[in-house]
């Protein structure tokens, strides 16, 4: 299977690889996927007092499309408010990276990771976790 140039670009030069301190109150961590399925994504956000995401980091175990999806997600997250971040849809990722149908689950995982990170942040800061509609698994 041939990869799109954008997948190759994110895969070869992944943006925002790394780890934020998960114990900080203003850091939200989302860990989604399972090793048995061949994909695990960890996505972290750092949020300031104005509810703006000032930093985002990821690490991903998975195929090229999974790595590219999470790298792209961190790029999009930075500078967005938490509410704007919640609006990111997996199909936006599919479109941007030109993922083929068999790789759509990678984008779903990235969307799940964003939402899981936001929920972790919300719970840490005394907010109710958002009830997430189960995405298309």
């Amino acid at each position: 299977m041939a990869y799109s140039d954008k997948v190759i670009d994110h895969y070869s030069n992944p943006r925002n690889v790394g780890t934020l301190n998960k114990d900080e109150k203003n850091v939200g961590t989302g860990l989604v996927g399972a090793p048995e399925c061949g994909d695990v994504m960890r996505l972290q956000i750092e949020v300031n007092a104005e509810n703006v995401i000032t930093d985002a980091k990821f690490k991903t175990f998975g195929c090229g499309s999974a790595i590219a999806s999470s790298s792209l997600a961190t790029e999009w997250l930075k500078g967005k408010t938490v509410d704007e971040a919640l609006a990111i849809d997996n199909m936006d990722i599919v479109e941007e990276l030109a993922l083929p149908p068999v790789k759509i689950h990678c984008s779903v995982l990235a969307e799940d990771a964003i939402k899981a990170a936001i929920n972790d942040y919300r719970v840490k800061n005394g907010m109710e976790p958002l009830v997430l509609e189960k995405s298309h698994h």
Binding site: Y3, Y11, P14, V17, T19, L31, V32, G33, A34, P35, E36, C37, G38, D39, V40, M41, R42, K59, T60, F61, G62, C63, G64, A66, I67, V102, H105, V108, L109, D112, H137
Partner: protein, 403 residues
């Protein structure tokens, strides 16, 4: 653009230029139909096919009359299993095979189950070999065929075929083997190994694609299979269809070259393979899959824990290899062969198969080692699992959200 280093010789091999040279005249001036008995064009073609039959027979220690040319090993597997099932239906309907067989065998058996066959799929031990006691226990008076592959395509393990055929014969069953990965790579002799039917293919031994062989024993016992393709009665009635003369000439030449060069080549390749393996297993958390004593000289299957196989192959774009990762197949399931060794899904997802061949050089192996080390280290930097492992987190204790 620089060509990647080709280390996928279990998938297919490049055509040896000497084979191509032998084939070329049979596309043009010597184009005759080997069945045309009335003119020189036919005689020339028939003579070439007869010569190729001798070359093939010599490689596996049989007579020319026992060689049935087919379109490849898949067709030969189909002909052997379906042909025996039909021919020996009065004796019984039970077939024994193993879970690590190629799909050409497994899916043929599944098909026959719908037609009333009883099939036993033997499990393998964690080194990939079948348990002979289990085979013995599975034999019944209705067993007509035991079909166990010679060398495995994914992990390279060599099954104890002599012992298997002895058990099959003791219970009055025929022994068939898919020897696609073994013939031409290691000594295979149908008489010493007690083989009654054997499938193999030209393109795994530096011959052309689209040609294969079913060996069918003629003496002690005389084995018969019901034809699966009817027509002009070619190949002693077992496989009709105009013979692929250039392909068969190429197969013959490929067999001859393998016979002459096998000993040296096996030594050279196993030394290169051992080097590759010993260097790559120096990487932390990397494991060789399958038995390392009884195996083909040119295959290494290694799992690099905490990195995913397809992602790894993408990082190794200058290497042409294959992976047991689900992402490389349409099924989204990791390799059934690796899973049958008892490998967990995550290790199966993390596996790479290196298949060395005649044109693999020492420099290729050095480069393959360097590329793999770099890619594994790079992907582990990206891997949350690797980070957790390094922090001492027990990954089996985490509740993963299956998706």
């Amino acid at each position: 653009m620089k060509q990647p280093i080709y280390l996928d010789n279990n998938a297919t091999t490049p055509l040896d230029p000497r084979v191509l040279e032998a084939m070329l005249p049979y596309f043009t001036e010597k184009f005759g139909n080997a069945s045309s008995r009335n003119h020189a064009f036919g005689w020339v073609a028939e003579e070439a096919v007869d010569y190729a039959r001798e070359q093939v027979a010599k490689l596996v220690g049989c007579t020319e009359k026992e060689i049935i040319f087919t379109s490849g090993a898949t067709e030969a597997d189909n002909l052997a299993i379906k042909g025996v099932f039909e021919m020996y239906s009065e004796k019984g309907n039970h077939i024994i095979t193993a879970v690590t067989e190629h799909k050409a065998v497994l899916d043929t058996c599944k098909h026959l189950e719908k037609l009333g066959a009883k099939v036993t799929y033997l499990q393998v031990k964690e080194d990939g070999l079948i348990d002979l006691a289990e085979l013995e226990a599975a034999m019944t008076p209705e067993t007509i065929l035991v079909s166990i592959m010679y060398g495995n395509n994914e992990i390279g393990v060599i099954q104890p075929v002599k012992e298997i055929s002895a058990i099959a014969h003791k219970h009055g069953a025929l022994f068939m083997t898919d020897a696609t990965q073994a013939v031409g790579k290691i000594p295979v002799n149908v008489n010493e190994d007690g083989i009654d039917l054997m499938a193999f293919s030209a393109h795994k031994m530096y011959g052309p694609k689209g040609v294969g062989v079913l060996y069918v024993r003629r003496k002690g016992p005389r084995v018969k299979v019901t034809a699966q393709i009817d027509g002009g009665g070619h190949e002693r009635g077992m496989r009709s269809g105009t013979l692929n003369v250039p392909g068969i000439v190429g197969l013959g030449k490929a067999c001859e070259l393998c016979r002459l060069e096998m000993d040296e080549e096996a030594k050279r390749l196993s030394a290169l393979r051992d080097k590759l393996e010993s260097r790559l297993t120096q990487l932390e958390e990397s494991y060789v899959n399958g038995n390392t004593q009884h195996r083909l000289p040119h295959v290494a299957n290694i799992s690099f824990k905490y990195v995913e196989g397809e992602g790894l192959m993408m990082a190794m774009k200058d290497l042409a290899v294959s992976s047991g990762s689900a992402c490389t197949s349409a099924s989204l399931e990791p390799s059934y062969v690796l899973k049958s060794l008892g490998l967990s899904d995550d290790l199966a997802h993390s596996s790479i198969r290196y298949g060395l061949g005649r044109f693999t050089t020492e420099a290729d192996i050095e480069e393959a080692i360097a590329i793999t080390e770099k890619a594994v280290n790079h992907l582990r930097e990206l891997s949350p699992l690797w980070e957790m492992f390094k922090e001492g987190v027990d990954l089996s204790k985490i509740e993963w959200a299956e998706h």
